[in-house]
Amino acid sequence: MDFTFSPEHVALRRMIREFCEEELRPRAKEVDRAGRVDPEVMRMMGSLGFFGVPFAQVYGGMGAGETGYCILMEELNRVCPSTATIVGAHIGIGAMSLYLDGSPELKRKYLPDLCAGKKIAAFALTEPNAGSDAAGIQLRATLEGDSYFLDGQKMWITNGPIADVVMTLAITDPALGARGGATVFAVEREWKGYSIGKPEKKMGLHGSPTSLLNFDEVRVPKENVVGQVGLGFVTFMKTLDVGRTSLGAATVGGGQAALEASLRWVKARSQFGRPIAHMQSIQFMLADMAAEIEALRSLVYRTAWLVDNGKPFTKEAGMCKLLGSEIASRCIDRALQIHGALGFSRDFPLERGWRDARIGEIFEGTNEIQRIVIASELLQEVGVRIRP
């Protein structure tokens, strides 16, 4: 057992934190207000190599593995959840599906630009009638000659409005449906028939753009099939496992930020003649926050270790996302409570964190789906197969 981070990971965290404190924190409020991340920040993150942290250097990545990627997500989300979400959708599910299952040619074609942040990726699975029931997708891909033609709609696509390359799951064999008859395609923004819907108005994550994507007979060359024809659902589910681990890491950062803000506030705020830090109700909230965050931190980095060492991690990834999002929501809610009325004011950053955090319990598989994933793994171990 060794719970220390490697010197490379320590250095990576230091570099990311410095960037977050100096560049991201001063802009976080404006990101929420204006509803967009400053392009200058995107450019800086690109030149620092953030967009390729987990990927092999041969494709232009940093080669820091899942552990490095978790460090990145923890640190970004500690300061600006909108920015973390853009980066997470880009790396963790967008580029990741290509990285895991794409052909060497396709990886060479897209990954260097994706790692450099010159191109932004998205992951298009959800459709109006296929949310938790991802296997219910209907977007069709029909083979004609050397090309597929994609027709249909995707919705709630994180990075939809800004993505240059969209990993899109489509049905290639309607008789088989999603399981065995779905395929992933790398679709470029400029292609004819591809169009982007209006950005969604959301309760939080205002800086992370989300939209509908329309595919109107979009021609996609065969070479842009990611992985094997018919096995796209497997690619996407595998990708989501990796993504869930890093979402857990993001929630460590979100919870940590809430705890740090609370510690500053309870020292500064006096009621009944002394700092509220001396109130036991407050102390116990702080203790519960810290305990939950530490447990989560251990789970997340242990799961990252499983990923980096080629061990099974599906169940643990589901746990990272399930526990992480609930812990982060609870911690931020406690922080808001500790801040009293000021926690409710948009003049202070607490309420932004509160709004931003809530989607963690929903996106990339609702927490109900995570419970199904975990239960299904558990029951499989005792020989029971379940259906949602």
Binding site: T126, N129, A130, G131, S132, D133, G136, W156, E200, K201, K202, M203, G204, S270, Q271, F272, G273, M279, S281, I282, L336, Q337, G340, A341, G343, F344, S345, R346, D347, E351, W354, R355, R358, I359, E361, I362, F363, T366, N367, E368, R371, R387, P388
Partner: protein
């Protein structure tokens, strides 16, 4: 024991429900998105007598009992918590304090106005006096039989809309909360300045302000209740508003449950409505159980109040429990909505933001728990400190 509403209470409830569905439901989303208090709606509510709900008829009110008031707050909050709380602050905190402590002349002067639709505020909280109102910095200096009021009040609900402010100021600073007095201050007084509108996470249709009182002259006849007698007025107002807020929490929770249940019945995944999933069924069932428990606590508290019994501890319990249940219900029902729950296009996200306020205003969760525990230890002869 008799758990049924009287015929009159039932009639009122139907009338409230009808009004809420016809007048409030259609404008609530717009009021939140534009962050504009629904002024026209409040006028209509006034015309129905709702702004003077518990004010006796002799002062222009509707003369309802507390139980009937809880039905009003509940029905309104089902559709718009901002409006329910605006009216609850106006009625339970401000207007009723005048009825409670005012002279006959003050009652005759102010209550018909306030029952008729002119809003009132209750200016107590200050930057350094939130949960601890004993540490008020606002001063009312006494000179030749009149007062000079000076200070800053924050988080004043209805602050910019109110025609009359019930203002609490220290008249004897050394005595902490036993040195507080209440004053009636007209909006038009030259020394009253309405300041910053608080941009809030939820309750965006409420007008929550910082209000400045700049060393202005308040005649002695505007002293509400006895000199240095403000604290008992505050305590009684807290009991009333906690009861009102508990009822509003009940309504908000019911509204959230209805939104979630409707969505679950319509949204199809895995070949059928998600209401077929046990996880969803359990969310709905748990919320329904808690809502029914809350309803009975709210009604019991109102019944104590109507019978003239001490109901302070119950008001704290009901408000504390109500705030938690409203939050949990909105949270679970947002989860039922999945991604749609995070969208501004769906009402549940507003409800989720709105109900969060209930754990803060009218005394935080922590203060309510302290109040409940204090009552229990008081009976044992032990004074506890927060």
């Amino acid at each position: 024991m008799d758990f049924s509403l009287t015929e009159e209470q039932q009639m009122f409830r139907d009338m409230f429900r009808d009004f809420a569905e016809k007048e409030i439901a259609p404008v609530a989303e717009h009021a939140d998105k534009t962050e504009q208090p629904p002024v026209e709606l409040l006028k209509k509510a006034a015309a129905q007598g709702f702004l003077g709900a518990t004010i006796p008829e002799q002062y222009g009110g509707a003369g309802m009992d507390y139980l009937t008031y809880t039905l009003l707050a509940e029905e309104i909050a089902r559709h718009c918590l901002s409006t329910a709380i605006t009216i609850t602050i106006h009625t339970m905190l401000a207007s009723m304090s005048i009825l409670d402590a005012g002279s006959e002349g003050q009652k005759q002067k102010y209550l018909p106005r306030l029952a008729g639709g002119e809003l009132a505020s209750f200016a107590l909280t200050e930057p350094d006096a939130g949960s601890d109102p004993g540490s008020l910095q606002t001063r009312a200096r006494r000179e030749d039989g009149t007062f000079y009021l000076d200070g800053v009040k924050t988080w004043v609900s209805n602050g910019g809309l109110a025609g009359v402010h019930v203002v609490f100021a220290s008249t004897e600073p050394g005595k902490r909360h036993h040195g507080i007095s209440a004053f009636l201050v007209e909006k038009d007084s030259p020394f009253v300045m309405v300041g910053h509108r608080e941009p809030t996470l939820g309750l965006r249709a409420m007008d929550i302000r910082t209000v400045y009182f700049e060393d202005g002259h308040v005649p002695a006849e505007n002293l509400l209740g006895p000199l240095n007698g403000g604290w008992p007025i505050v305590l009684r107002a807290f009991n009333r508003v906690r009861l009102g807020l508990a009822a509003a929490a009940l309504g908000a929770a019911e509204g959230a449950l209805a939104l979630g249940a409707n969505f679950a019945a319509e949204r199809k995944q895995f070949g059928g409505p998600i209401a077929q999933k046990q996880a969803i069924q359990n969310y709905v069932a748990d919320c329904a159980v808690e809502i029914e428990a809350l309803r009975h606590l709210v009604h019991y508290t109102a019944w104590l109040a109507d019978g003239g019994q001490d109901y302070g501890r119950y008001a704290s319990m009901a408000k504390y429990l109500g705030a938690r249940i409203a939050k949990d219900t909105a949270n679970k029902m947002l989860q039922v909505h999945g991604g749609y729950g995070f969208s501004d296009e769906y009402t549940i996200s507003r409800v989720y933001r709105d109900v969060r306020a209930l754990r803060l205003l009218g005394g935080t969760d922590e203060i309510q728990r302290y109040a409940v525990a204090r009552g229990i230890f008081d009976e044992k002869g032990l004074k506890i400190q927060p």
